[in-house]
């Protein structure tokens, strides 16, 4: 059977739903959606371009077994973590967390869209904050703006110059952080060891849950 046929055969089967339930944080809630669309309508990004699929449609796609489309979707990455959908959902689906969970899973298995800016921010932020235990705002900004190379970085930095200057003038952006003057935790060694262990345990847990292929 060809790939297309396999996919068709998997339509409306539990396979992908199960995969999401096992692998994505809060994925077990996907099945509870009743397609009212309140989440989609409540999303602050609803009226801006950029969604492939609204949350409730993502849930339906999961139930319909549309694995490739869901994992590659841009939609989960639009979340601003405002929790509007979460508090309103008539079925009490924690939509925010489910969207994060699906995004994380797609990213983890390398199926998420490439060059997704929020995804990049997520990585940058985490790397930044775990390196010294606390966020280094200047470095975070630098890394963000230069992610696409020097040229666009300068352009963005120029665009953001007024913003940055405002913060510097008001004493809220300490350029010294860029040269190592930032805040740090003392027990960096402990933090790093702790996180390494956590990553390891998490990987074990997810692997144990995964249904054997076939």
């Amino acid at each position: 059977m060809g790939d297309m046929n396999t996919q068709m055969a998997d339509r409306y089967k539990n396979n992908f739903l199960k995969e999401i339930e096992e692998q994505a944080e809060m994925g077990e809630w996907v099945k509870m959606c009743m397609q009212c669309g309140l989440c989609s309508g409540s999303c602050p990004t609803n009226f801006q371009a950029g969604w492939d699929h609204p949350p409730q449609e993502i849930f339906m796609m999961i139930r319909a077994g549309k694995r490739d489309e869901v994992l590659a979707s841009n939609s989960m990455w639009m979340c601003t973590s405002c929790y509007n959908c979460y508090v309103r959902c008539p079925r009490k689906v924690p939509v925010t967390h489910v969207m994060h969970g699906i995004a994380e899973y797609a990213y983890r298995i390398g199926r998420s869209p490439k060059n997704q800016p929020t995804q990049h921010l997520s990585k940058t932020f985490w790397d930044n904050c775990t390196k010294y235990g606390r966020v280094n705002e200047v470095k975070l900004t630098q890394t963000l703006y230069f992610k696409d190379g020097i040229g666009s970085g300068i352009k963005k930095a120029m665009e953001m110059q007024s913003v940055a200057m405002g913060l510097v003038k008001s004493g809220r952006l300490n350029l010294m952080e860029a040269v190592g003057g930032g805040h740090k935790c003392k027990d960096l060694k402990g933090i790093h060891a702790m996180l390494t262990k956590a990553k390891e345990l998490e990987a074990q847990r997810k692997a144990a849950k995964a249904t054997p292929a076939g």
């Binding site: 602050p44 950029g50 973590s81 405002c82 509007n84 508090v87 994380e104 921010l121 007024s162 809220r172």
Partner: protein, 298 residues
Amino acid sequence: MARKEYAFYPGCSSQKGASASNYLVSVESMCKTLDIKMTEIPDWNCCGASVSYAEAGELPRHVMNARNFALAETNLPGQTIVATCAACWLGARESKERLEHNSGLMADTQTALKEAGLQIKVIPEVRHMVEVLIEDLGYDELKKPVKKPLDGMKFAGYVGCQTNRPFGISGESFENPMYLDKLIETVGGEAVKYDQKVTCCGGALAFSEPEKAQGQIKDIIEAAYDGGAEMIVTPCPLCQANVEVYQGQINKRYGTKFDIPVLYYSQLMTLAYGGSAKEAGINGNVVRARKLEEFAAK
């Protein structure tokens, strides 16, 4: 009234020289007046914030918060953790809730904490500064030290998301929380009515996809102006920064003429309690709150 003591979790943005450093300044002034003792959790670390979800995964994120719990519990036994930052508070509360309801996750967390020589016995309570103010002191108590009421000043109380959802300040509705308006009124200001009180400022999207977030910020500021506000007040550092610092860019993008100061509730309280501009950290505002500067000087 007995002195109240809390384990303070200031968060990354409130540190000296960071984007919400003026928030910290004003909180310290405010607490001094209200006789609240905030002891910083020794060697606290970042909460991870919501946006790290993709890279961090589940356990590492909770472990980061768990480390703070363990440190608080060990060094400041019996004290409630109080966060001033909405994201820190949310991250910590979420981790607390998950760990308490998921024994597997908790066990793994303990294993990881062990690597840093820590462990958790009981996760301390985690509260937002605002909860301390309105629940442990109450509006009447907060009103007592007011020396200079902010008479005639109109503020848009901008609650935003993360102090409001998914947990929220207890007793408040998600859709129309009133505590911020009440705080404004407590210090003599007028809380204007406008319909973007709990609209999202764009959160982390303001960094990653500024054009999307700025549309939302524009709506918020516009509504505040339409409601007759002279200034915006917020309990959240990210809301503060997003709504304040992009006004220039928004003006450029949309042809607006925004120039509205965005303050923290703690700044208003400090000023009303008779504090100086410096003590209130209003020198740290990018959009200058001239009216308040003059008020403080009087």
